[in-house]
């Protein structure tokens, strides 16, 4: 592509995708996860224009390995995942550097300080020294674009993959960025046998490890500037920062009027630390403060590399917490205290009583009636929870931790406590990510376990990426049979009593039982759902309603509302006509009526 591109509005996700396109990426693999969930949507929409292949991998382990394969053939490859996905990809990435890839390989990881879009704010920086791969951390959206492109060049020069971490608040930030597309010749793709680097055993493993570390050392000899300094170089106090914390530091220093008293160093190459650059910055400083979020990775690297070489005091996590995002309030409070300056704003410091509004299931979501059915079957029994839309709202299961925690933890409990009322749950995306092997493990170990697979035919939580059941390529029923699950129930997600009955029947049968709950995501309606929406209207007969509130308080459908006169009504502007409420009502008070016929005893339904 040689067209000149204008300056465009982009968020961090766009910037990652555009940088890869402009760097001439040939191969992309990913597993969807916030905050970098939208990268693949952008890339997928333009794959023919830019001519790259996409592997919608079923987990991050496969995504990473497939990119290694592509880069071994000389292709430029991009792998995208969220921070916890790096745990899954960690095994192959430990070996990625010794392979001497031929085409650049960039690993983009969305991190989540503050846990805005994740179940935890795990600090994955520690993987950089474990893998011994370079780590770039952009501080702005334009910086994301620059770093991803630069990472391809570094990767090819050193013949090892390069990590780029994009924090959630940059991934979802939008600003104007300028694209600078480059002209790329078509690369010849060929896999050359290379047993010296690819058969990594014995003495060769040690030699390859040494070679890898020596290649990494050459990174700092290159001319690329991967840091920036600001404010007064003569100041006695230095602030060192990285990633999203940089712009927060910059703004606070300016707003407090401390630009003459402080010298700011922003490090884009967080690993390996360029000691020479740091030592130059540290000259004449009495104190250096490392301002970063999470565990203090940069502080640890600086203290490790500069130990015995700098005489000034170095502080970091003894000032700022290791949890949450590094906020401007924290920095502002600290700097105004040590410099005795007044904060320039007039905050009202209001005390607000506002409960958290956690997400809920959407109207028409198949999970809503499924959980109603589960509750009806096992009461106070244990519900093993997984990650994804089925964990909205978060309190419906007994734990919400990580991918496949539902099926994994449940089988341990079921193994130990065979008489415990328990079901494990998870979406089909999670099942194919690793649940399949977990379930087979339960089969092999003769564990009495009922696992419920919520099949809504897409990875809905992260933006409706395809799952294996989105098309007809994978037959989930045959797959379950193939791994030895002898009892398989197939139920309609919108008829909760079907699921209740299946759970109760399964409880009487020994071994592993799978309940395949089918119901498409309400936000991706199929033809049948669209037809239902046009041809149905739901109505509550208040003369039949006994006020049990099962539909309102237990099913908790947002389309069922309580009117001023306390009667229950259906808000047709919200109702998706899934009819899950019909099965819930013990008095048959809810009826499907012709959309063009006025309800019998109502003027404003």
């Amino acid at each position: 592509m040689t067209d000149t591109h204008p300056t465009l509005f982009a968020d961090g996700n766009d910037a990652i995708a555009w940088a890869a396109q402009d760097a001439g990426v040939d191969y992309v693999a990913h597993y969807p996860g916030s905050p970098v969930n939208r990268v693949i949507n952008v890339l997928d929409a333009e794959k023919n224009q830019y001519n790259y292949l996409i592997n919608h991998a079923l987990n991050e382990h496969i995504a990473a390995l497939s990119c290694m394969g592509a880069s071994l053939c000389g292709a430029r490859s991009l792998v995208v995942m969220k921070h916890v996905g790096l745990n899954i990809a960690a095994d192959p990435l430990n070996y990625s550097a010794v392979c001497k890839i031929k085409g650049g390989m960039v690993i983009v990881v969305g991190t989540d300080p503050g846990a805005r879009t994740s179940t935890g704010e795990e600090d994955v920086h520690w993987y950089a020294p474990q893998f011994n791969l370079p780590l770039l951390e952009p501080a702005t959206v334009q910086g994301v674009y620059k770093c991803v492109k630069q990472a391809f060049s570094i990767s090819e020069q050193l013949q090892l993959p390069v990590l780029v971490f994009v924090a959630g608040r940059i991934a979802y930030q939008s600003s104007l960025i300028t694209r600078q597309p480059e002209t790329h010749k078509k690369r010849p793709f060929v896999f050359k046998k290379d047993p010296e680097n690819l058969i990594n055993v014995g003495a060769k493993a040690v030699r390859n490890h040494r070679d890898h570390l020596l290649r990494l050392q050459t990174l700092h000899q290159q001319s690329q500037q991967l840091f920036s300094t600001h404010f007064n170089p003569q100041a006695r106090i230095g602030i060192v920062t990285r990633g999203a914390s940089y712009s927060v530091c910059y703004e606070v220093i300016e707003s407090l009027g401390l630009s003459a008293q402080l010298h700011l160093l922003n490090i884009e190459l967080s690993y390996p630390l360029n000691l020479a650059d740091f030592m130059q910055f540290a000259q004449h400083k009495n104190k250096i403060i490392i301002a970063e979020d999470q565990d203090g990775f940069l502080e640890t690297m600086i203290k490790r590399e500069a130990f015995g070489k700098v005489s000034c005091e170095i502080q970091g996590k003894d000032i700022f917490p290791a949890w949450g995002e590094l906020s401007s309030s924290l920095l502002s409070d600290y700097f105004s205290k040590i410099f005795n300056v007044t904060q320039p704003h007039n905050a009202l410091s209001l005390k607000i009583d506002c409960p958290e509004r956690a997400g809920s299931f959407c109207e028409g979501c198949p999970h809503r009636s499924s959980f109603y059915g589960i509750d009806a079957a096992i009461g106070d029994g244990i519900i093993g929870g997984d990650i994804g839309c089925s964990s909205l709202p978060p309190h419906r299961t007994d734990w919400l931790l990580c991918m496949n925690a539902g099926i994994g933890i449940s089988q341990g409990i079921a193994h130990l406590l065979p008489d415990q009322a328990l079901v494990s749950t998870g979406g089909e995306g999670s099942f194919f990510h690793g649940g399949l092997i977990s379930l087979q493990s339960a089969v092999e170990n003769n564990i009495n376990l009922t696992h419920i697979i919520f099949d809504n035919r897409s990875v809905a939580m992260t933006g409706h990426q395809d799952s294996p059941t989105s098309s007809d390529k994978t037959d989930l029923g045959k797959l379950l049979e193939g791994i030895g699950v002898q009892t398989i129930f197939k139920v309609n997600a919108f008829i909760s009593s079907e699921l209740t009955e299946a759970i109760q029947t399964a409880a009487k049968i020994k071994g592993v039982k799978a309940i395949w709950v089918q119901g498409d995501c309400a936000l991706q309606p199929n033809t049948e759902a669209l037809r239902r929406f046009k041809e149905r209207r739901l109505f509550i007969h208040n003369d039949l309603c006994a006020g049990c509130t099962l539909c309102y308080e237990k099913l908790q459908c947002p389309a069922i509302i309580k009117a001023v006169d306390k009667t229950l009504q259906i808000d047709l502007t919200r109702c998706r006509r899934c009819t899950a409420c019909l099965d819930v009502c013990p008095n048959n008070a809810i009826e499907v009526i012709d959309p063009y016929v006025e309800p019998p005893n109502s003027e404003d339904r």
């Binding site: 916030s34 940089y246 703004e251 320039p344 607000i352 009583d353 409960p355 997400g359 809920s360």
Partner: protein, 196 residues
Amino acid sequence: MSNPRIAKTVNLIIAGIGGQGINSLAKVLAEFIISSGYHCQFTIHKGGAQSLGSVYAEFRISKDTLSVLGQGIPTGQLDSLIALEPWEALRHLPLAHSNTSLWVETKAMPFFIERSKQQAIESPQQQLNALPLTVHWKAYQEIAQQQSGTPKMANYYAGLDCLTSLSCAFVETSPPFERAVFDTLFFSLIKKAKRT
């Protein structure tokens, strides 16, 4: 804001819940601000909620080229808050200063989980009225129903108040914020969404 280098930054939040079109409005508003001759950066926060959870967009707007600005609005520096739901207005008021302008939807949306426990919570409208701030109460959903035939257009009418708010904030600065430009951008987005 005492430092002249960042004195012209105006900070605005659009808040609501999933499904109200906060994301779409934020994208239109950003394009509108840029095409009106201003600079802006914004961040969408939609958490893990696909629907019905808290959603908000933080805007940082300037007439001049933006200085380096953090992704979040600092405490005490929120200039305008336009909320499509009163609880979601309350949520951001710890960032307010004494002149923060508020435009708030009159109708509170229920918390859709644990419905049985909600009686214990004080009304958000009462809490907002008790604050030392002027609240412009707006029935966005009702206005949208009456004027556009659907409450889903509430985000458009909230967008118009964003324009009012920006015009007040940049009263001494030209160029003006023109509604016709906003309308063109907003309705072209709706047309595009309908096509897809």
